[in-house]
Structures are given as structure tokens and as C-alpha cells.
Amino acid sequence: MSDSKPIEALNALEAEALAAAESAPDAEALEAVRVTYLGRSEGRISVILRGLGQLPAEDRPAVGQRANQVKAALAAVLEARAGALSGPAVESGLDLTMPGRPRWQGGLHPITQAIDEIWHIFRDLGFARARGPEADTEWYNFEALNTPLDHPAADEQDTLYLVDSVLLRSHTSPVQMRTMEANEPPIRIIAPGWVYRRDTYDATHTPAFMQIEGLVIDEDITFIDFKATLAEFARRYWGPDTQIRFRPSFFPFTEPSAEVDVKRVIRRPDGTQYETDWLEIMGSGMVDPNVIANAGYDPERYTGWAFGMGPGRIAMLKHGVDDLRTFFENDVRFLGQFAQ
């Protein structure tokens, strides 16, 4: 049987400490009680706990357990007394934990946000915004853009017609020609807007969607300017580690033509990172001399480049939206997630 003396001492200490806490007249006195018994260095219970190692091994568990009980009991009384001494929680009826008075939150559509982000980068690169009609003629939508109506390339964008040669533009490229006609170089524009195709609604197609056109026309514009500007855009939009790939392609209104792919580096919260697959983000190329001539410019003097990209697709990639149609449902619970 081990010596029960330390336990008895603890019992006495508990009675003394609790009585002191209960009778403390104010917060100051209460703090003095806390320091006397629980203070980290000199507190009497702290001292006992620290001295456990000097007790016979068989006594240690029982004494340790009892000391901790005393400590907890005293702490509880100290807290209760502290509450009592500080007066009512809602003095003068003002409970500041009640919720604040909110106002309605609004927000921009996620595709508008994508367009704005893209626009702000191009604005910094010296571009302005241009616009054109959504219903346009075959001339502006196809022929002026070096796309004969009887060429298979005209098929790839199955077009919605209104009357005879008037159609809903199948891309924002008609703005190229309209801007060139109304201005003189240097031209550096982007043209966001709706375009229309004869598509049915599915996860990646809608018969109307947003596109952003880009056009640069001036003297001495080369393939290097084209690559450099778009690579600069891609790194500003997707981050400095983004890889950019220009792949030969075909668009009737550009030559050479290129698809632009990006490979992003995504950092995980744990610090590791991984590369995405190549993501196709835009069609682009050097403006075809026929297009420049159709605008009334001398193609020997002026060169340029152009691109077209889909902010809807870019917003899908960015926000993890897997169905394009979600953007047009306009459910406020969806839109609310983009309120910033």
C-alpha cells in the first residue's frame, strides 16, 4: 500500500483553492487566485504536477490523476466566477454576436468575367475593343474573309440564315473587315460578342455562344509579333510556367494558320505540381493578303495577325464547369458562386 499523504494534501489544497475562487470579490482578486494555484511557474498545483517524477513510481499515477482533477475543477470554477464578475453578456440589450444586417449581393456572369480578364490583358498590350452586327451578310462572314461559299471550309461552321444572303454571324471575324473599313492602321483590337451556329444544345455546344476576335494590322507585323503577343497573353492569363504550342492548321482568312495549345502547370495545396494535357485555346494566324486587300489596304505594305477564342470554353476550364449549358441556365445559386 502506497503512502496516501500526497493525495490528502491535494484534497486539502482543492478545498482551499475552491473557497478562494468562490470568495474572490472582483476580477483582480480572481486572477490572483489563478496565479496562486495554476500559475505556470509558481502555481501550487503546477508545482505538484512538475514534482511527480520525484515520487515513488507506484504513487505517480494516482497522484498525477488527482492533481489533474483538482486543476480542472479549479479552472471550471474560475471560469464561472469570471463570467459572473463581468456582468450580463447582453448588457443594455446589445448582443454583438447576433448576425449583421446584409444587403443583396450581385455578380457578373462568369463568361463576362472571363471576357473582362482577357480584355484587361489585351488592353495592357495596347488593344481596344471593337464591335459589329450579329446579323451580317455572306460577304462579311465568308467571302471578304477569303472563304468562298462553295468551299468545304464554309461547311465547318454550319450557318443560320435569316434571308437570302443575310445570316447570323458564325464567328466574330466579320468585325475584322468592318473595323478595317472604318479605320486606318495601326489596328489592334479585340471584339468580344455572340456568334451563332446551327448546333444542337449539348455539353460542349450551344447554337449561340461568345467568341473573342483579335486583329492586328500595321506595317512590319510579322509571325514573330504574332507568336510573341499570344504567348505573352497566355502566360499572363494562365501563369508564367504555362507552355504554349503553335500548331499548323487551316483557316481561310489566315495564312500561315495556327491552333494555339497551352499546357498549364497546376500547383496542388501540398506544394507538388502537375502538368495538364495540351488544351486547345484558339485558332489564329497571319491575316491572309486577300483579306487585307478586300479591306482596301495594300497587302504588300500591311501585314497582320488575328485570332478567335471561346471565353465560354476558357471559363469551363478555369472553373471546372463540365457542361456549357449551365452558363445559360442562369440559376442564381450558380451565378452566386462567381460573385466577387
Partner: protein, 802 residues
């Protein structure tokens, strides 16, 4: 275009790399690969089985019991095929094998006889439609060996995406050329097993060529510049040998019979569509290439469809009438079948645009038409003809009789395009030397025939004659073969744009941020609408529910609010900026306007413990519209009560907006019950729509009003206003008569009830007077108020209360 990797490697000896590596190569040459499949993908469990002996099933007339050597032992298999040959090889699905369609083979007992596996038909293996019999394998095989390896199904088929300008890539040789040009390899045509060498004569004439009773005539040289016809007699139509079937399957094509397979082989290898007629079914053994006659209305094509023929379509005819739609599809009446012995083989050059117009009006597309409309190599016809003849002689036998009838009214002449080295640099930004340029484009078939003062004279090969006609087309070839990735990405100095940022975009930016600040969400909805909501009709809509373009955005937004309400979202506040379409003159493009609309329903403010929920009211939409209109049209834009512009809004509770010039540019109010379909618990819908100016003026710069130096005097007026007099007219009168020191005026209370006689209401106004030059004395202010009260009483019958 489905491309067999094995075939490619046979054409480009030395071509290395996995299908994935080849795909990457092609992507960087402008022909990305959409997918890689293998014809043997699902057949890994199938092995070669040899039937040792087949006997009649003792208990079933239609079944046979076969002893089959599976390489390790002889197993018993019950088989339902009508013919099973002793000693022949068949694909064997052993017990445990899984066939396409997730069909698992189990050991079973069929009518009392044990069956340990299955001998398969082509259909069961997904290799064809033939299900009558099991697939007998021709040749020498090893029982137990992998079926896929043994019959060459271990190929990889690349689904190559070919852009519309590159008809030359629609063949294995075309794709091979892109790959060969990168390395030391070169394009060679693979051996044709068993094919004799031939050196046919060509009998060339125009417009008609005839030999030994067989004739070819071209009546429409504008649509068919050359037509080759070869006569092969004594063929035996039957299944193709394994090597030919293997080739076709590797390229995603299904074997049919040796003659048809030979034409498809050439189409896939060289890109030249070929067609075989049964010579003895051609009336007078003659071929006439001409436009359809007026009385030729219909024609039955090979696929058993009756096609509507129009006079602009090019037909292949015999002495009696049409036998094929040129460049699109042959006819049933001249089809090669099992009884065919003599064949007339067609190798022709049809005009792209006409082929395209024809197949479009027939709403069909075939392998042949797809190639013709993108351009077939005018210099490759004889090679294609020779090769097709040899494949037929090797696989169907027979004999080439007489010369090849070569009707050639429009011989092809290749072109030379000049390429300036200086222009290359001007477009691409870096200098190129002529020797290097030649080394880039020569492997693609371009011949540099000379150089004068920095100008290369480049002869364009026939297969590129469609897409390479100008200098810039060659510059693209230079850039592409040099490699886009090798160009630097140095951002140089740029002149700023001479095009100003469009002011309507700037106005839209301002309106968006104002409305978001008011707690609305921006919506985007397509501009299509049902009949009745617009007068601009889509001529070829895909859906019949929304074949019009909207005149107003509000109805689209109401549908989005309905959508939200149907999902239990009670508080919905949406706005949209979009285009309104209105009919212009007939045949003209519609008139477009930019509109801003908003629709709101639910509580005015978010719920909070401190206040009662309040529904949205007319005052909320009025203030929102006023704010928006003034941001758009300036501070003099006004909102006043007025009948709505459309029946979407309810009459009697609506407002009109006038621009500073007095033009009505929008309306607002409560959405009519007939214009929305909402649950009973939903609140009222309030909406506005505003037309935006096409070219908004720059917002006026703010000129600051100096802050006052002198104190103000306020007076509250409680007025008894007859119900026939509006608050607006009282306000107007006060403003008019209070004098120039009236700084501000507001209505702070409206009361009706006890103490106010029937037919009147009490309106409380607060007037603030202030002079910019002195402190106003009470006496002066009182005098102004007295004037106001007098005029109100006399002009409007409004009296001060009590």
C-alpha cells in the same frame, strides 16, 4: 481520315516510332490525330483453331460436332455453321474468352454434346456483317497462335483530322509524304502480292475515245476534264485475299469483294476515287459523261436509295441512261456482283465545286465525293489506274484487254509560283536562304526550277494545285516545315491602336458594375425566341420551338426567373445586356439595338432578424430604372408613369423612360400574369428594359458645385392634395414658385385616413432654402412659402393641412 500505321510504315521505309509518336509528328505538321484504335482491340482472347474433323451432331440436324486443335490439345466444339471444313483454320474463342459486346464463352452442353469454346463468324468478331458462316482463314496458320497477330489485326488506326484545304492528305501516300519529308525516308508504293507488272497503252482522244466496241465520251468538259476507262475481262468476283482485307481493315474500311476492295484500296492509298462498272450491264458498252437531262428525275444509287436528280448534276451514263452520279456514288443498275465477269474501271477527274453542290443537294457524302470536293491529284490518275488494275488482276484474275480509254478534253498543266525571299522575311520575321527554302519544300513535291534576284520559281505538284496557288501559300509551307516552334517569341515595340475603345462597351461596363452594386446578377441568354416575341425569323432553325430572334430581352429573362422559381429560388434578381433584332426592309439585314433588361422578384432586402420581410414594389424598379437611365442618357433622362411598350408588362403600374431628347427609350413595371408562369407562392415580378444608344457620348466630365458658405433654412409643408392631383404636379409647382433659393425638395410622408377628408391625401414636403450669397432671413423664406401655398391652392386646389 483513318490511317493504318502498318500501311504508312510500308510506304515510308524506315519510318520509326509508336503510333503516339507518329501522331505527335502529324499534329505539328497540321494534321492532328483525334484518336488511335486497333481493329483487334477487343479480340485479344481469340486464337487460331484447326478443325481436325467435323461430324453431324447426333441429336440436331443443323449442328456439327467438331474436334478442334487449339495448339495444346484437341477439344470438342459444337458449331451451328452450315459448312465446316476438315483441316481448315478458324478463329477460336476458347472457354473464358470475352467477345466484343462483353459476351463470355463458357463450357456448355448443347443437345447432350460438350462444347468447349466457339468457332466465330466475322460478325461475332466485329469484323463484318457476314454471320452465315464461321470465318474461314485462308493461308497457313499455327493452331493456338493469337488470332490478332496471325491475321494482321495488330495494326493501329490513326484518326487523322484533315483540314479543308488539304485534300492531298486524304490518302496514305499523302500522309506518308508529310512524315517522309521530315527524315531520310521517301515514299514508295508497297508490293502488291501476286500482281503482274503491266505496261498498258493509253488511247487518248477527245471528246470521245473508242476501242473494240467500248467507248467513253465527255459532253461536259467543264465538269470532267479527264476520264480513264480500263476494260478487264474474265474476272472472278469473290472475297479478297487476307493481305488486302488486312489493309482495308487497318484503314477502318470493310472488305466487300475483290473488285470493290481493289477500288477502295487505291482510294485509301493514293486518294484517287475509282469505280468499277459491270461492263456487260452498260448499254452499248458505252460511257457518256454529261449533265442530267431535263426528264431524268430520279436515280437509284448503290445503297438502294432513290435520289432526286437535277439538270446541273453531272452523271455517268451508258447508251440508255444514268449509271452513276459522277464523283458521288454508282448506280444499282451497273453494280459489280458475284456474276460479273467483265469490268469497266473508271478513274476520273471531276470538278470540286460541282461535286460539292451535287452531294450537298443530295444531302449525302461519300469517300469519293469527300475527296473530289477537296481536289484529287490530276497528275496521279495513270498511276492510280495502273495500280487498281494490278490489284484486280492479282485478286480477281482476268485480263486487261485493249488500251486504256483516255478521254482528256482538259489536260492538266501545272503552275509555277514565284516566291520572294524578301517577302518570306517580311511575313515571317526572319531571313531564309534559298537553299534552305528548297530543302524544306522539295520533299513535299515542290520543285524549285530556278532563282532570279531573290525570287524562287516553284513548280507546284498536281496534288497541291488546289491549295497552293499564291506566294503566301508557299510561305506557309516554309513556316510549317521550318517548324512554328523554331520562331522566336520576342515581343517587339508596337504602335498604339488607332481604333478607339468602343464607347458602347464602356457604357456596358459602367451599367454592369452599377447593377451588380444594386445586388443583381448578370445573366446571359441566347437571342432565340418563340414566335410572337420577334419578327426576325431564322430560315433554317434546328429547333422549331425558338425559330425567331428576340425583339426584347425581358421575356428571355422572365423564363430564367421562372427556371429559378421552379428550383425553389425565391429571391431572383437578374439583368442582361444583349441585342434586340427588328425586321428591316425585305431582304435586308435586321435592325439591331443593344438593350439592357432586368427582372426581379422576392424580397427587397435579405431577411434579417431586425426587420420584417418586404416584397419588391414599383418604387424599387422605378429607382433602379431611373438610376440606369441617367447613367445611360445623362441626368436629364426622366422616368414617368405611362402605358407599357409591350403586353409583357401590366397596364396601370408601369413607367416609361425618356432620353434627354424626349424619345421613349424604355419601360418598367410589373410583369403581367399572362407573361409569366410562376408558382403560387412566388412574389410579383418587376422588370425594366432600356434601349442603349448605338454610340453613347462620353460621360460629361463632372464640374464641381462649390460647397455652400451660408446656412440653410428648412420648412416642412403638410399638404392636403386631392386624389385627382399627382405628387408630380405638386412638386413641379413648388419648384416653379419657391424661387431660386429652393435648394432641395423631398416628399417625406404620405398619409390617408383619420383626420384627412375623403378624396384627399396628406403629402408632407420638406423644402430646403439656401442662398449662395447670404444668410436667408426667416421672413424671406416664409414669404417664398406663402407664395408657394397660394399658387398651390389657386392652381391645384391643394391646401396646407391644419
Amino acid at each position: 481520315m483513318n490511317v493504318s500505321t502498318r500501311w504508312l510504315k510500308d510506304i515510308v521505309p524506315g519510318l520509326q516510332g509508336t503510333p503516339e509518336e507518329i501522331s505527335e509528328h502529324l499534329a505539328l505538321r497540321g494534321a492532328p490525330v483525334e484518336g488511335i484504335t486497333s481493329p483487334g482491340d477487343e479480340l485479344g482472347d481469340i486464337i487460331i483453331g484447326r478443325v481436325v474433323k467435323a461430324v453431324q451432331h447426333p441429336n440436331a440436324d443443323r449442328l456439327r460436332v467438331c474436334e478442334v486443335d487449339n495448339g495444346t490439345e484437341t477439344v470438342q466444339i459444337v458449331c451451328g455453321a452450315p459448312v465446316v471444313k476438315d483441316g481448315a483454320f478458324y478463329p477460336l474463342a476458347p472457354v473464358g474468352a470475352v467477345l466484343p459486346g462483353d459476351f463470355k464463352i463458357k463450357k456448355s452442353k448443347i443437345r447432350g454434346e460438350v462444347s468447349q469454346g466457339m468457332l466465330c463468324s466475322a460478325k461475332e468478331l466485329g469484323l463484318g456483317d457476314d454471320q452465315d458462316g464461321i470465318l474461314e482463314l485462308v493461308g497457313d496458320f499455327t493452331p493456338g497462335a493469337s488470332f490478332v497477330d496471325s491475321v494482321g489485326l495488330d495494326d493501329a488506326t490513326l484518326d487523322v483530322e484533315v483540314t479543308a484545304n488539304r485534300g492531298d492528305l486524304l490518302s496514305h501516300v499523302g500522309v506518308a509524304r508529310e512524315l517522309a519529308s521530315e527524315g531520310e525516308g521517301r515514299v514508295v508504293l508497297p508490293e502488291l502480292p501476286g500482281a503482274p507488272e503491266i505496261a498498258p497503252e493509253y488511247a487518248t482522244a477527245s471528246p470521245e475515245v473508242e476501242h473494240n466496241g467500248v467507248s467513253v465520251r465527255i459532253d461536259a468538259p467543264d465538269l470532267c476534264s479527264r476520264y480513264l476507262g480500263a476494260v478487264i475481262r474474265g474476272v472472278k468476283v469473290g472475297p479478297s485475299p487476307a493481305w488486302l482485307q488486312e489493309r482495308l481493315r487497318g484503314a477502318g474500311s470493310r472488305p466487300i469483294n475483290n473488285v470493290v476492295d481493289a477500288t477502295n484500296y487505291v482510294l485509301l492509298e493514293l486518294g484517287q476515287p475509282m469505280h468499277a462498272f459491270d461492263l456487260n450491264r452498260l448499254d452499248r458498252q458505252s460511257v457518256i459523261v454529261r449533265r442530267a437531262a431535263a426528264d431524268e428525275r430520279t436515280f437509284v444509287t448503290l445503297d438502294d436509295e432513290t435520289r432526286e436528280v437535277t439538270p446541273d448534276m453531272l452523271l455517268i451514263c451508258d447508251g440508255a441512261g444514268p449509271v452513276a452520279i459522277a464523283g458521288v456514288m454508282g448506280g444499282q443498275n451497273s453494280e459489280v456482283d458475284d456474276d460479273t465477269t467483265d469490268v469497266l474501271l473508271e478513274c476520273a477527274l471531276f470538278e470540286p465545286k460541282s461535286t460539292r453542290a451535287t452531294r450537298r443537294s443530295l444531302t449525302m457524302s461519300t469517300d469519293a465525293s469527300y475527296r473530289y470536293e477537296r481536289g484529287v491529284d490530276p497528275e496521279g490518275m495513270q498511276r492510280a489506274m495502273d495500280r487498281c488494275i494490278r490489284v484486280i488482276l492479282a485478286t480477281a484474275g482476268g485480263e486487261l484487254t485493249g488500251p486504256i480509254l483516255d478521254c482528256c478534253p482538259g489536260p492538266f498543266e501545272s503552275t509555277v509560283v514565284d516566291l520572294r525571299l524578301a517577302r518570306i522575311e517580311r511575313v515571317l520575321g526572319i531571313p531564309f536562304e534559298s537553299g534552305y527554302v528548297e530543302s524544306l519544300i522539295a520533299p513535299l513535291g515542290f520543285a524549285v526550277e530556278g532563282e532570279t534576284d531573290g525570287v524562287l520559281h516553284v513548280r507546284v505538284p498536281g496534288f497541291r494545285s488546289y491549295d497552293v496557288t499564291r506566294e503566301v501559300d508557299l510561305i506557309e509551307e516554309v513556316a510549317r516545315t521550318h517548324g512554328f516552334d523554331k520562331f522566336p517569341e520576342t515581343l517587339g515595340p508596337q504602335r498604339p491602336s488607332a481604333v478607339p475603345d468602343h464607347p458602347l462597351f464602356q457604357l456596358e461596363d459602367r451599367l454592369r458594375s452599377a447593377l451588380v452594386g444594386h445586388g443583381l446578377f448578370e445573366a446571359q441568354t441566347p437571342a432565340f425566341c418563340p414566335e410572337g416575341e420577334g419578327d426576325v425569323q431564322v430560315a433554317n432553325p434546328l429547333t422549331t420551338t425558338e425559330p425567331f430572334m428576340r425583339r426584347a430581352i425581358m421575356p428571355s429573362l422572365i423564363r430564367r426567373v421562372e427556371y429559378n422559381l421552379a428550383r425553389g429560388n425565391r429571391d431572383v434578381r437578374l439583368f442582361e445586356l444583349g441585342t434586340s433584332f427588328r425586321k428591316a426592309g425585305s431582304g435586308e439585314a435586321p435592325l439591331e439595338e443593344s438593350h439592357l433588361a432586368a427582372v426581379m422578384t422576392g424580397r427587397r432586402e435579405p431577411p434579417h432578424w431586425s426587420r420584417e420581410d418586404q416584397p419588391l414594389e414599383a418604387w424599387d424598379i422605378k429607382a433602379l430604372l431611373t438610376d440606369t437611365a441617367q447613367r445611360t442618357y445623362g441626368p436629364s433622362a426622366s422616368v414617368e408613369p405611362g402605358e407599357p411598350l409591350s403586353d409583357t408588362l401590366e397596364s396601370g403600374s408601369s413607367f416609361l423612360v425618356r432620353s434627354s431628347s424626349g424619345e421613349v427609350v424604355g419601360h418598367a413595371g410589373r410583369v403581367a400574369a399572362s407573361a409569366c408562369d410562376v408558382p403560387v407562392w412566388a412574389g410579383e415580378l418587376w422588370a425594366f428594359e432600356l434601349t442603349l444608344p448605338a454610340h453613347p457620348p462620353e460621360p460629361e466630365p463632372v464640374t464641381v458645385t462649390p460647397l455652400p458658405h451660408f446656412p440653410a433654412s428648412e420648412r416642412d409643408l403638410a399638404l392636403l392634395v386631392p386624389d385627382s392631383v399627382t405628387a408630380g404636379s405638386v412638386t413641379e409647382a413648388i419648384q416653379r414658385y419657391a424661387g431660386r433659393d429652393l435648394e432641395h425638395l423631398e416628399i417625406f410622408d404620405l398619409y390617408k385616413g383619420d383626420g384627412v377628408p375623403e378624396g384627399l391625401r396628406s403629402l408632407a414636403f420638406r423644402l430646403r432654402f439656401r442662398s449662395p450669397t447670404r444668410t436667408l432671413k426667416d421672413k424671406q423664406v416664409d414669404k417664398s412659402v406663402a407664395v408657394v401655398l397660394k399658387r398651390l391652392e389657386e392652381d391645384l386646389g391643394v391646401e396646407a393641412r391644419g
